[in-house]
């Protein structure tokens, strides 16, 4: 499948590498070219400089043909907005975003956005570790 990833931080870069290894067509977006250093040297997808909140940039990244869109920048609101653009403007069938703030994650999940809060998940894992 064709995947567009917004944000080439640790998570974005790692995800891009994993999907690329599995043979998917991956495009990673970041506003800072320096972030692309995190991509594995074997990465055969596309790294594109640009802001994923910009429709033109998203089109250039191939969002119109994309099967999936992932928003994993550092900004919760940026991820929320980009995910909504992908879902409601470009009708991408699979859209997932990261929202650190558990309350906001809950709200947007309720509104139909597939949102993951690493805060909630990690706190839960830590709790289980401590109690086991």
């Amino acid at each position: 499948m064709k995947v567009v990833i917004m944000g080439c931080g640790r998570v974005g870069a790692q995800l891009a590498g994993l999907l690329d290894t599995d043979g998917h067509s991956v495009t990673v977006l970041d506003t800072d070219a320096y972030s692309f250093r995190r991509l594995p040297s074997t990465f055969s997808g596309t790294a594109l400089i640009g802001n994923g909140l910009n429709e033109e940039v998203l089109k250039k990244a191939g969002i119109e043909e994309a099967d999936a869109f992932v928003a994993v920048t550092q900004g919760d609101n940026r991820n929320v907005m980009a995910a909504q653009i992908a879902k409601h403007i470009f009708n991408v069938s699979k859209v997932v975003c990261r929202i650190y703030d558990p309350l906001r994650q809950e709200l947007y999940s309720m509104l139909g956005l597939e949102a993951i809060s690493p805060t909630t998940i990690f706190a839960q894992i830590l709790k289980e570790k401590l109690e086991s």
């Binding site: 909140l53 429709e55 609101n77 909504q84 403007i89 906001r104 709200l107």
Partner: protein
């Protein structure tokens, strides 16, 4: 009305000042402690420090009873989320977002924001209006009807000067409302009104036919 303003920058500050003077109950939410301090010193205790996108903050300030939330931070995504949280979590009846990137206006509308104000477009329009040769100025947009009120300047060399209004091929759906001349009082045009050089024509039109209207009035 109880109005919440998200963002205590210059826009938030002056907006709050204006709303307070109209007698509204206003509260600003601002992240920056220094900005909060300045606002509270100058306008009284109207600013609380916090993140206007965060539910805990919005719950604390009684957003559920707010009549309106206006998000005027410098970041479009923050304004979007503040409005969406207010709307969907606290059922605020009216949300307004400032949009810096004009492209985002349509996106925000699609995502359920009631009113968007594009600060960039407004500034652009105002500056363009100051250019003497600028042919068409947007004065007002009537959103729910898809109409706009514009002003068209008739240049001194226009081929339509001396012609009556009925002789112009105005696009459908466009209506001339008023003609302001240099020396005469503003007048409501009729079919036989003659256009003069330097006239400023105020018209109601649609975004699609504004180009055709401009061309018809200026004989382009």
């Amino acid at each position: 009305m109880y109005i919440i303003v998200v963002g205590g920058g210059r826009l938030g500050y002056y907006l709050t000042k204006a709303l307070l003077s109209e007698g509204h109950e206003v509260l600003i939410v601002e992240k920056n402690a220094t900005f909060c301090q300045i606002i509270n010193d100058e306008l009284g205790s109207v600013c609380i420090r916090g993140d206007g996108c965060e539910m805990a903050t919005l719950a604390e300030i009684g957003t559920a009873r707010a009549d309106m939330l206006i998000a005027v931070t410098g970041d479009d995504e923050d304004n979007l989320v503040a409005c969406q949280v207010a709307k969907h979590k606290f059922n605020v009846p009216r949300t307004t977002a400032r949009v810096r990137n004009p492209q985002n206006e349509t996106i925000f509308k699609k995502l359920g924001i009631d009113v968007t104000v594009s600060s960039t477009n407004i500034i652009l329009e105002n500056i363009k209006e100051e250019v003497p040769t600028h042919p068409l100025t947007h004065l007002l947009t009537i959103r729910d009807k898809g109409l706009e009120i514009v002003e068209v300047k008739i240049p001194p060399d226009s081929t339509t000067i001396g012609k009556p209004i009925k002789g112009l091929s105005l696009p459908k759906g466009s209506k001339l409302a008023l003609i302001c001349s240099k020396e005469r009082k503003p007048r409501v045009p009729t079919a036989s009104t003659i256009l003069k050089a330097e006239d400023r024509v105020i018209a109601v039109t649609t975004p699609e036919s504004e180009e055709a209207l401009r061309a018809a009035l200026r004989g382009e």
